[in-house]
């Protein structure tokens, strides 16, 4: 296991994991420090970070980056449509 971990140095997936963890801490900081006045902006930002992370997991961990185009488009469509609908609901309802 340690040998397998050592082989990951400079690996794309490891870089993606660091990005995901960093974004998670940024999300928590942003969410916990928010004030009532900026809730709408912070809410949209939190959703944007969440769906960027979801896309990273799909493209890099689920290997959809090298999947046939229709499958990749279905996933990209899911991310884009879900994010857009949630933002619209969040701002309008």
């Amino acid at each position: 296991m340690l040998a397998a971990l050592r082989r990951t140095r400079g690996d794309t997936q490891l870089i993606v994991w660091f990005a995901l963890i960093s974004a998670t801490f940024a999300t928590a900081g942003l969410g916990l420090e928010q004030t009532a006045g900026g809730a709408a902006t912070v809410g949209v930002l939190l959703l944007a970070i969440a769906f960027t992370k979801i896309r990273l997991v799909g493209i890099h961990f689920m290997e959809l980056g090298s999947a046939p185009l229709p499958l990749r488009l279905l996933f990209e469509g899911y991310v884009l449509v879900t994010f857009t609908v949630l933002v619209v609901l969040f701002l309008v309802v």
Binding site: M1, T24, I49, F61, L89, V93
Partner: protein, 203 residues
């Protein structure tokens, strides 16, 4: 001109495929995964609508949650996903360490379930149950369904760990199963990445 048509090597070169694109796992798995993700998208929408309709109740309820436990659980799932990525690569290549890496992913999954149990117990002890209000109903139902997915993922990872302990190379069928197990586990991770901010952080 006729020589180019007659030469089979040239004909073959005309059809050089683009870099290999393959479905991770199999098509049926993706029908299930995308269907499941669509159902969770409805859950996400329900939470956002509740935010809009009853903001005071949602914010008051969110104060009873434990965001640091949610943060810890996000770390468990992301790290578990990294372990699964590395384990999948190791088992495909027949290199050593796949079993240990699956073990690491299972440990992360158990860690997530344990933290969730602690959080549920703490909330219930403080008098917050699924009957308390709509927010807590959504919280317990949606995170409970997600936890169910995680437990199924742990069973799959245990099968994969058992297979990884064998020295024999993967058969094509086993290779598909390895990919399916990995994609399912990543979907469990992916769903939590939306549930965490929606339930704990978005005001």
């Amino acid at each position: 001109m006729s020589a180019t048509v007659a030469d089979p090597s040239i004909q073959a070169n005309d059809k050089i495929p683009s870099p290999e694109r393959r479905i991770p796992g199999e098509e049926g798995l993706w029908v299930f995964l995308l269907g499941d993700m669509a159902i969770f998208a409805l859950f996400f929408g329900a939470i956002v609508v509740l935010h809009g309709q009853h903001p005071a109740m949602v914010i008051a309820s969110q104060h009873a949650l434990h965001p640091l436990l949610g943060l810890l659980n996000t770390g468990f799932l992301l790290t578990g996903s990294l372990f699964v990525v590395l384990a999948t690569r190791a088992i495909r290549n027949g290199s050593s360490g796949a079993a240990g890496l699956y073990g690491g992913a299972i440990a992360c999954g158990i860690g997530f379930a344990a933290v969730k149990a602690v959080e549920y117990a703490s909330l219930i002890r403080d008098g917050h149950t699924a009957q308390s209000n709509d927010f807590f109903m959504y919280y317990f139902v949606f995170t409970g369904i997600h936890l169910g997915h995680l437990l199924i993922g742990l069973v799959l990872l245990t099968f994969l760990l058992t297979r990884a302990r064998k020295a024999k190379p993967l058969t094509p069928g086993q290779r598909v199963f390895v990919d399916c197990g990995a994609c399912y586990w990543h979907m469990v991770d992916l769903l939590w990445l939306a549930l965490f901010p929606l339930l704990y952080l978005v005001r």
